[in-house]
Symmetry: C2
Subunit: 314 residues, 2 copies
């Protein structure tokens, strides 16, 4: 299996867990993880890449286990003082997290592209897989709500995703090129399959698919593409995916995920809780998708790889 290569597409918390599982069961050189950049923004001069950081922290085993972002054993000296100074404190920045953003700023200031910066930070955290932004170019999710257009983090963190979502725009997507390292994974002679991790389809996966080359290559790929539904029993395990789908007039159900990705995903793994819902739907397979432990992550990763192998033999 060691000459086989896999590409995983991931957003934040749920996606990062499966990416971690894949990293546990594959050799480092077998895995490329492409990460959503739509949430990225600059705040107080700090370049903040929330999904990439969550993937890095999760793979390094230093993610906060209780929240969907940030580091374990974090301290809050800077933010506490920033509050004292009446500075903006709506976006929670821990001290260790700030250090990563400052290290990234330093690398960016040297003229390095986003992929090189991501790889450099990954190595410093002891991560040997390729963890790459889907694009080195700016691509920013904008959210149209009943309160008007909002920058993503203003909506997601500043307003806790409370405003009703009406539409999404991925600013810069038309100009954004696929990151060379992601293209390399997709054209890798040993590419065995692609895994869409269980991330928010609208806020994490679609901004990635908005990079035209990625969607085109996925649509014409000859190897299997397997998705894992982030929706379990009509709810998102974390985050506002179900709320957003309902607001956009899409039923927040596991089989809807298969429908959303129908033009390039061969199989969607849904949770056993949704087994009845997908009974008879050959595009879906019910299994245990909820990852509470590292063993859960590894088991789901193994199943993704097994399904890819099975589909390849069809």
């Amino acid at each position: 299996m060691s000459d086989k290569h896999y590409l995983a597409l991931s957003g934040g918390v749920g996606g990062a867990k499966l990416a971690h599982g894949l990293a546990q069961v594959l050799a480092p050189e077998q895995l490329t993880i492409a990460v959503n950049v739509g949430d990225d923004f600059e705040h107080l001069g700090l370049p903040i890449w929330p999904d990439l950081d969550t993937v890095l922290y999760t793979l390094a085993g230093i993610a906060n286990p209780d929240q969907g972002w940030g580091r374990a054993d974090e301290s809050w000296q800077v933010l506490d003082e920033l509050k004292q100074l009446a500075g903006p404190s709506w976006f929670l920045l821990g001290d260790k997290d700030i250090a990563l953003h400052l290290a990234r700023r330093h690398l960016l200031d040297q003229g390095l592209d986003a992929s090189t910066v991501a790889q450099s930070l990954a190595k410093r955290l002891g991560i040997h897989q390729r963890v790459l932004p889907v694009s080195n170019d700016p691509l920013r999710t904008l959210v149209e709500t009943d309160e008007g257009w909002l920058e993503f983090q203003r909506y997601f963190v500043g307003r806790r995703a409370e405003p009703t979502l009406q539409s999404l725009q991925f600013k810069g997507a038309q100009q954004a090129q696929l990151a060379p390292g992601v293209r390399e994974a997709l054209t890798h002679p040993g590419l065995a399959g692609v895994i869409l991790c269980p991330s928010n389809p609208y806020l994490s996966i679609m901004p990635m698919l908005a990079v035209a080359e990625l969607k085109e290559r996925l649509q014409t790929l000859t190897v299997p593409v397997v998705a894992v539904s982030p929706i379990v029993a009509g709810m998102a395990l974390k985050g506002p995916a179900a709320k957003i789908m309902a607001e956009l007039g899409v039923e927040p159900k596991a089989n809807t995920i298969a429908e959303l990705y129908h033009d390039f995903v061969d199989l969607t793994l849904v949770d056993n809780a949704d087994a009845e819902l997908v009974a008879g739907d050959r595009r879906c397979l019910a299994t245990a998708t909820v990852m509470k432990t590292v063993d859960d992550r590894k088991a789901l990763a193994r199943q993704c790889l097994a399904e890819i192998e099975r589909l390849q033999q069809c």
Copy 2:
């Protein structure tokens, strides 16, 4: 005395102490403190204004008492993690200090000029005096050494002022306009005098005098200008002033300070340790200039004001 106004020119630590003394003995509306900007730089995306911050921290009573920079009761979570990440750690940034830089970044990002930003930060720290950068425009000290030209902080902090200094350049000085608030102080109908605080003449005072309008106004001022020598018994109390003066071929002696400023300073206060040195020199007056306590700062401030009053009556 309450309708009298005073302008103090200050660099970092020594200057900040006298500025603090003046702030203690004058009403807030009587004092404008213009601060050197030549040391300012951007580091890891953070706008760092070392001299202004030292003045702010000193006036707010939160300066580190043992070092010439930074805050008391500081923590180092961010820098510790930055070291873990192999990020640049040559410039020491405490957590509370970082918070101030982030708050400043936020204000600058709103398009506010440097004076407005400085005043806003001062207010948040409970400071009611006008503490202003000498110019709102970029003006950066560059240092020519036996190792070539260095940016100021690379020389001062990165190389601990060890390379032999050959010459100085104040980049941007020709274009830099005097900050409007400093001009207001100099044209204040109640202006009673100007105090040059005991700061490094080459690294703190000269970058300020490089703003042409400041030097011109000081040279043509009708009210007294009093300086306090930062050199005591041939040495600087803090920092490399004596080393630098020697490298530039200037005798590091208290009366040299009077010589340097001869075209606009009416009286230079030197320490009693140098009383013999300045005996018979009417431009100099020996007194106690070493400020170990807050009372020392207030006493020296009162003497500066008394000398201004005496000179005015001459």
